[in-house]
C-alpha cells in the first residue's frame, strides 16, 4: 500500500518562526488510505507540519502537495472541505448546539434538512452519542462528548483525508480508551487517509498503521508500525517504545 501515490507530500519544506528555524528542508511522504501517526514531543514541529497541510500555515519555501494539489495554489475553502479537522479540546463553537456545530459546513454546502439529519444520526450512533446530545450546547457536554461531536463535524462531509491535532490528549484515561474504540470503528468505515498528531506513543501504536517520529524538526524514523517496533533506528525511538511497556 505504501508504494501507491502519497496523500500528502512535503518537498524541501523550510519553515521558521521569526529567528527560530523549525523545518530546514523537510521531505516526507504520508501514505494514502491508512492512518499515519505523527509522534513527537511538544516543540518538535508536529502541529506546524499539520497546519501546512490545509494552508493554515504556509512554508517559507518548498511545497506541500495534498491529494495531488499544491496547497500554495489551491482554493483553500474547497480543499479544506475535503479535509476533516479536529483539535485538542474539540474546538466546538460555544454559540451553536452540538448538532449545529457538526452540520455547519454541510448546511453551507446546501444539504437539505433530511440529508443532514440522516447523516448526523448515523455519525452520532457511530461515536456513541444520542440524538439528545445534539440539542445541547458544548458547555453542557463532557470533554469526551465534545470530542466525539468534533469527530462527527470532521466526518460530516465524508472527507478522503482527516487531520487530527492531538484530539484525545486532554481526555482522562477511561474516556480516552472509549473514544479510541470509536476511532477504530471510524477507520473500519472504509479507506480513508488520516494524519494523527500525538505525543503518546502507545496511542500511536494502537491507532495508526504508519508512524513518523519527529524530533526538533527532523524526521528520526518513519515506517510501518511493526517495522519501527521491531527495528528502532535511534535511541529516541527506543525511548519512546520503552515508555509504552513501562
Amino acid at each position: 500500500m505504501v508504494d501507491q501515490r502519497p496523500v500528502i507530500s512535503f518537498q524541501s519544506v523550510r519553515r521558521s518562526y521569526g529567528e527560530k528555524v523549525i523545518f530546514n528542508g523537510l521531505t516526507l511522504d504520508i501514505p494514502a488510505d491508512e492512518t499515519t501517526a505523527l509522534v513527537g514531543e511538544s516543540g518538535s514541529g508536529k502541529s506546524t507540519l499539520l497546519m501546512m497541510c490545509n494552508g493554515l500555515l504556509a512554508p517559507d519555501s518548498g511545497s506541500v502537495v495534498v491529494m495531488g494539489e499544491d496547497v500554495a495554489n489551491a482554493d483553500l475553502v474547497t480543499l479544506r472541505r475535503r479535509i476533516g479537522y479536529a483539535v485538542q479540546g474539540a474546538g466546538l463553537f460555544p454559540h451553536l448546539t452540538a448538532a449545529e456545530n457538526a452540520a455547519l459546513v454541510a448546511r453551507l454546502e446546501g444539504w437539505g434538512e433530511f440529508e443532514i439529519n440522516t447523516k448526523l444520526a448515523s455519525l452520532f450512533d457511530l461515536v456513541g452519542l444520542s440524538a439528545e446530545h445534539g440539542e445541547r450546547f458544548p458547555y453542557e457536554l463532557s470533554g469526551g462528548e465534545q470530542q466525539r461531536v468534533s469527530l462527527c463535524r470532521a466526518l460530516m462531509l465524508d472527507p478522503p483525508l482527516m487531520l487530527l491535532d492531538e484530539p484525545f490528549s486532554a481526555l482522562d484515561p477511561l474516556t480516552k480508551t472509549g473514544i479510541h474504540d470509536e476511532f477504530l470503528r471510524i477507520q473500519s468505515l472504509g479507506q480513508r487517509s488520516i494524519l494523527l498528531v500525538t505525543h503518546d506513543m502507545s496511542e500511536a501504536m494502537k491507532l495508526a498503521q504508519y508512524l513518523v517520529i519527529l524530533k526538533d524538526g527532523e524526521v528520526v524514523q518513519h515506517g510501518g508500525v511493526a517495522e519501527i517496533r521491531d527495528a528502532p533506528q535511534d535511541e529516541y525511538v527506543r525511548q519512546l517504545l520503552g515508555s509504552i511497556s513501562s
Partner: protein, 491 residues
Amino acid sequence: MKRIAALLVLLCLPVLGQAVTVGSKNFSESYLLGEVVAQLLESEGFEVDRRFGLGGTLVCYEALLNHEIDVYVEYTGTAEQVILKGGDLHPTIESINARLDPAVSMLASLGFNNTYAMALKASQAEALGLSSLSQLAEHPELVLALSLEFLNREDGWPGLSAVYQLPHEPTGIDHGLAYQAIVSGSIDLTDAYSTDGDLERYDLQILTDDRNYFPDYFAAPFVNNAMPAAAREVVSRLTGRLSDDRMRQLNAEVVISERSFADVAAQFLAEEGLVTADRNTESRQLAEMLANTLDHLQLTSIALLLGCLFGLPVGILVHRNQSLARAVVYVAGLLQTIPSIALLALMIPLFGIGMLPAIVALFLYSILPILRNTITALLTIDPVLKRVAAAIGLSRVQQLRYVLLPMALPGIMAGIRTAAVISIGTATLAAFIGAGGLGEPIVTGLALNDTDLILQGALPAALLAIVVELLFELLERKIVRPHMTSGELAA
C-alpha cells in the same frame, strides 16, 4: 432587528405640517419674548416650533439667515454692532434694514429699550454715594464680574472702560449667577439689562450712564423674509406694546414670582387683548415634556444608528490588523477627549444650528464605544476557534457571519449600549445649539437658576437612560443565547 430599524426610521421622520420656528437667546427676557411671539402665533393657528435658548447673538443670527428659525426678538444696538459691525449708537430700524442681508429684516420695535447698565446693591451705592458711571472710576476697590458676552463685545466692557477710564479688572461670570454673587458679597458690580426683573428682586441700583455711552437696544422682532406673510402680520401686532416698565414687570413675574414663561406670556397677551382663549398651561407643560423627550429620542437614535453604521463595519474591517485597529481606536479616543460643549460649538460653523450639528457631534461620540468594543470582542475570541473556523472550510465572510460575529455579539451589544447611554446624557447639552430635546428645560433652568425647570429635563433624561438600558438588556436576552453572556464558555 427589523422592527427596531423600522422604529428608528419612524423617529427620523420630520414633523409634518406648516410650522413657524421661533427662536430665543438663552436669557430670561428673550425666552419670555419668544414665548409671547410663539403663543400669539399659535393662537392664530400656526404650528410653532420653539428653538429657545440658542447660545448667543451670532448663533441666532446664523440660524435666522439659514432659515432654521423664522423669527426671534433682537435688539437694535446688537444688530448694529454685532451683526452689521456698524458704529451708530442710535440706529433706526430703517437704517438697519437698509444694510441687512436681504433675506432677513427687522420689524417695528416692541417699544422698550433694554440697554446695558452696571448694577450694584442699592445699600452699597448709598453708602459710597455712588450714582453714576463716572464716579465708578474713583472706586477701584470694587470687584466687577461681567457676563462673558459683555466682557468681550465691542459695545460692552472694552468701550465702557475706555470712555469712563475704569481701572477695574473684571472677571467673567455666568449672568444667571451674577446677582446671587452680589447678594452674597463675593462681587460688587455686574452688567445688567435695564429691564431686568432681578433688579427689583435683589434691590439693586443702576448707575446712570452720564456720558451717554450705552447705545440704544430697542427690542424688535427679527424675521427671515421667507416666513409666511400672515405670520409676519401677526407678529407685528406686538409693535409698541411693551414699555420699559412693563417689560421689567413681566421679567420680575418670571424671576421673582417663579411663574413659567408660558404663564406670564399668556397673561400678557390676554391683558393686551391679543389672545382671548385661556390656555391650559398645565397640560401644555406635559405636552412639551413629551415633545422634548421625543426630540431627545430622535436625536440620540439617529446618532446611534449612524454610529453603528460606521463603527461596526470599520471595527470588523480593521480587527484583523492589530496596528491598524490600534490606530483607529486611538483616533476615536481622541474625539472622545474633546469636551462635549466645545465639540457642539465646533459644529456650528460647519452645520449651522439645530438637530444636524447635534447629531453629527453625538455620532462622533458614539463611535469610540462601538468601535472599541467591536474590535476587542473580535480580537479576544479564542484563537483555536478562529483556526478551526478556517480549517473546516468556511470562507472569510462565512467565518464572520457564522462564528466570529455571533461570538462577539455580547461585547458588541455592550458597546452599543454604552454609546446609547452616553448619547442620551450628552444630548442634553445639544440644546445650547438649538437641537431641542430634554436639554431645553435644563438650559432654560440654568439661565433662570430654576431647579424645578432643570429637573424637568434632567429627570426624564435619566429615566430615558434607564429605560434604554433595560430595553437593550431585553434585546440582548432575545438575540444572545444565555450561556454566551454568563462566561460559561466551552473549553
